[in-house]
């Protein structure tokens, strides 16, 4: 058995120091050690994107990263989106445009969308569809997810929806 390692990581702005096995996956640490269960485990084989979180601002699949690799780095999960001012524009978009049905893919879908809009505030439909191509949704057919991201883009640019 390998010994546990001390890892210091910032999740949604809060610093955590945890003692974990090297083989623990980032998604396990987020859900089971830190009890932030908004991030979902879907396929567990890096195919579906339900576990998407931001690692130093970039969307990644947290089932395919070791938790120890988050040492000294910043993680943002879906719990980190809402602020004192209310829902994040992406969250509001998914709510207003019915961007979800069962909701399982939604946290990952939203994290990818947040990262897209940070890089490209005015994405075309094609840009959106390409950006979410690593996040699978088996309910919606993606139409309302695209609308939700478009809603958020307008909202963030200060256009009244």
């Amino acid at each position: 058995m390998s010994g546990k390692l001390a890892v210091t990581t910032t999740v949604n702005g809060e610093e955590h120091e945890v003692l974990i096995e090297p083989r623990l996956l980032l998604v396990n640490m987020i859900r089971e050690t830190l009890h932030e269960t908004g991030t979902h485990i879907g396929c567990d084989t890096s195919s579906c994107g339900a576990c998407t979180v931001l690692l130093d601002g970039k969307p990644v699949k947290s089932c395919t990263i070791l938790a120890v690799q988050a040492n000294g780095r910043e993680i943002t999960t879906v719990e980190g989106l809402e602020t004192a001012d209310g829902l994040h524009p992406v969250q509001e978009g998914f709510k207003e445009e019915h961007g979800l049905q069962c909701g399982y893919c939604t946290p990952g879908m939203m994290m990818t969308s947040v990262a897209l809009l940070a890089e490209n505030p005015d994405p075309s439909e094609d840009d959106i569809r390409k950006a979410i191509s690593g996040n699978l949704c088996r309910c919606t057919g993606y139409v309302n997810i695209v609308k939700a991201v478009q809603y958020a883009a307008k909202k963030q640019q200060g256009v009244t929806a």
């Binding site: 058995m1 390998s2 390692l5 096995e21 090297p22 083989r23 623990l24 996956l25 396990n28 567990d44 084989t45 890096s46 195919s47 994107g49 998407t52 690692l55 970039k58 969307p59 990644v60 699949k61 089932c63 395919t64 990263i65 070791l66 120890v68 690799q69 040492n71 990818t112 390409k130 950006a131 191509s133 690593g134 996040n135």
Partner: protein, 292 residues
């Protein structure tokens, strides 16, 4: 799904990483992006006793041109290549490949060098490296070692990289005047490996092909260097449809695909022929400055 237990170190210099790798014996593995290694560990296809994580080593994220070479450090992710203006302006084959590797999330993590070192015949970068004649710079206990991308793979998931060596940088010759390149890939869906893919690089003098290299992805147990197909093009015009067809036929003959969920072997072999022709036409147009 957790991997088997392993020891973990995250050194901050290449020298320390080489020492850690040597101390770990043949059972240690280097992890950069981990997007192939970690899934294999979760499925127990790999159970290394030690992971040497190179993500904390400064200076391995180099992506620049110097001394006539494009340098791609061991921590350069697929997504960085996809978003790089330098790549967009000067290395169209790299942009072609980067845009269709796995999915955008995996591209934020997986690396060019890690893909090449992984030795998977389905890996896109080994083909690109073959077409562009890349040098693969490794460091081992006895110092620096340079491997050629062209004959780097020795069998499926095996390469010339020693178990005690770390691939620290790929170096690709800067484009010559009249050089054009392209990568054409057919995949069933985002995230899947190629049913077949072809990478080509040519150099034109006027309309005459003076240099050519062709690599094939996922159509055999190795990344394939279709040398006969490339050689058949030398001295021919890029507008010579018969010569382009002949190169496609020779590239297909060099492939050795297996029938699987992505299609029967005959279909894949014909994909190689067609994709080779398409790649040559695109590379030819780019060499003449007709297409970005």
């Amino acid at each position: 799904m957790l991997p088997s237990s392993f020891e973990y170190v995250a050194p901050t210099s290449v020298d320390e990483a080489v020492q850690a790798l040597a101390a770990g014996g043949g059972d240690a593995k280097v992890m950069a992006g981990g997007q192939s290694l970690l899934p294999m560990m979760k499925l127990r296809l790999a159970s290394p006793s030690l992971i040497v994580d190179i993500n904390n080593i400064a200076g391995l994220d180099t992506l620049e041109e110097s001394d006539g070479m494009l340098r791609i450090g061991a921590l350069v992710r697929h997504g960085e290549l996809e978003r790089s203006e330098l790549i967009r302006d000067r290395y169209p084959i790299i942009l072609d490949a980067a845009q269709h590797i796995a999915d955008p999330l995996i591209r934020n993590r997986g690396t060019f060098c890690g893909s090449v070192a992984h030795g998977d015949p389905a890996g896109d970068w080994a083909t690109v490296a073959t077409a562009l004649g890349a040098e693969l710079h490794a460091v081992g206990p006895n110092g620096a070692v340079v491997h050629s991308a062209t004959d780097f793979q020795t069998s499926m998931f095996e390469t010339k990289l020693g178990a005690d060596q770390i691939l620290v940088e790929a170096r690709i010759p800067m484009p010559k005047p009249g050089q054009g390149s392209a990568y054409k890939k057919i995949e069933r869906k985002v995230g899947d490996y190629a049913a077949a893919a072809v990478g080509v690089s040519i150099v034109l003098d006027g309309m005459t092909i003076t240099e050519a290299a062709i690599g094939l992805t996922n159509v055999g147990p190795l990344t394939i260097n279709a040398a006969d197909a490339a050689a058949s093009l030398i001295g021919k015009s890029i507008d010579d449809a018969e010569a382009i067809e002949q190169a496609g036929v020779l590239a297909a003959a060099a492939s050795d695909p297996a029938s699987d969920l992505r299609g029967p072997a005959d279909y894949k072999r014909d994909l190689v022929r067609v994709l080779t022709k398409r790649a040559l036409r695109t590379a030819g147009a780019r060499a003449q400055g007709k297409e970005a």
